[in-house]
Symmetry: C2
DNA sequence: TTAATTAGTGATCAGGCGATAAACAATTAT
DNA sequence: ATAATTGTTTATCGCCTGATCACTAATTAA
């Protein structure tokens, strides 16, 4: 103890973490690092940010690529399994409320510089996990939204949405998604009030779904409140 | 000639291009290369694809970074200056027709794997040219679309669109843009008929603009034709 | 206290990178 | 034909990269 009091080295800042926790700490900081530098970032720079030497990384991960894979896995799994499917399909509540609440929560999770950058990098790489995630969005989110819209409109709730319906849902979803890209990646000025943006996008989408597909979704609900 | 007939080397495939054309050829192929490999791609691989040796690149460009800058410049300037401003503001035609034609043309230019990838890479790098382009889209496209919508709706065409209006236009525009990302970058299945997608997106946007901002845009125009 | 195990470091390797210099080959000017 | 100029290649440099190995320091087990 008294030996450590000497200013020889500023070590022993914190007690050793359990191997598993240390590993997770590495992955977390590596995620931040790669999200900024891209996956071409060097292991030495990464190690410096972790406050350790570079070879130590190879005690925890067999290779840089394995580390990267773990980064992907944690990032992609982070925003999932949060009971959104139940939220979306809870027909005791108005569909517009459900959608507003869902997109508020969903964008709270994915609208970070870290998440969006990792997502776009993996998309550019054409990684399987990216395709998997796109499939999840389509099947777990957009398809259910369409089904709820059809139910709301009194249309037959068939098993699969049509290609046109799905495309319209994608355009809607992407419009919201890209708000995050503009704000956190392009760092371009956006409408400050995110929930207002979602609200307007919902009004447009529900009105459009009603008009194009002939239903009556959101009638008497979509607020025509004056803006500004 | 007869000398070249010997199988010594398969050179002399083509007469020498003018220095300027050769340079342009290099930039064009470098664009393809970097769009696939990312800007971390090596100069040796690039040279191999060009059919020359690596040092030759440095006779045409002072550094790899200068070459990359030229790639950006050509890619970003490629889709511009095509008389779209006139098209958008030609009030002798219905606004919906103008918007459909504009987005047909615009997406014909930017919906290539090459363009979209370079665009996203530069966005992730936070390059000035990317911010500049975002500004161009906002000022030359979205602001004018809003002005035309306001005029169509009988609303006062004030100088600047409100933040809410602009955001709504961005959400609309981004929804269309991301169709290209899903198709050409994620290589995810999309609605085959691009113009149908644009048509539906327009119906939704115009109906939404009408509803949220209280005008009468597109009334009697938006086709309520049954979809599939 | 001592032995065994785990965490972390310093030195180093082979390979790839961007970039340069000198030599060679082809074209153009005289 | 000869000289000057431009286009292209071969060889190489210094640097950085991911990865490995042998070693030291810290923790845990006996």
């Amino acid at each position: 103890m008294r030996r450590k009091a000497s200013p020889k080295r500023a070590r022993a800042k914190q007690k050793r973490l359990s191997p598993d926790d240390r590993r997770k700490e590495f992955v977390a900081k590596a995620t931040e690092f790669f999200s900024e530098e891209g996956f071409g970032g060097g292991t030495r720079d990464l190690a410096r940010r972790l406050g350790v030497t570079q070879p130590l990384l190879y005690r925890y991960f067999p290779s840089k690529d394995d580390l990267i894979k773990e980064v992907y896995r944690t990032v992609y799994l982070e925003p999932l399994d949060t009971g959104w499917e139940k939220l979306l399909t809870d027909r005791s509540r108005p569909i517009r409320d459900r959608l507003q609440e869902f997109y508020n929560a969903y964008t709270n999770v994915i609208f970070t510089r870290k998440w969006l950058r990792i997502y776009l990098y993996s998309g550019l790489k054409g990684l399987d996990i990216n395709r998997w995630y796109v499939g999840v969005v389509r099947d777990k989110i957009l398809s259910r939204i369409i089904r709820e819209c059809r139910h709301e409109a009194g249309l037959p709730v068939q098993s699969k949405p049509t290609a046109s319906e799905l495309e319209m849902a994608w355009v809607f979803h992407s419009g919201i998604f890209y708000y995050g890209v503009r704000k956190y990646i392009y760092e371009s000025p956006v409408l400050e009030d995110k929930e207002k943006m979602i609200s307007d996008a919902l009004d447009v989408f529900l009105a459009g779904f009603e008009r194009v597909f002939g239903g009556a979704v959101g009638v008497g609900r979509a607020p025509v409140k004056a803006v500004v």
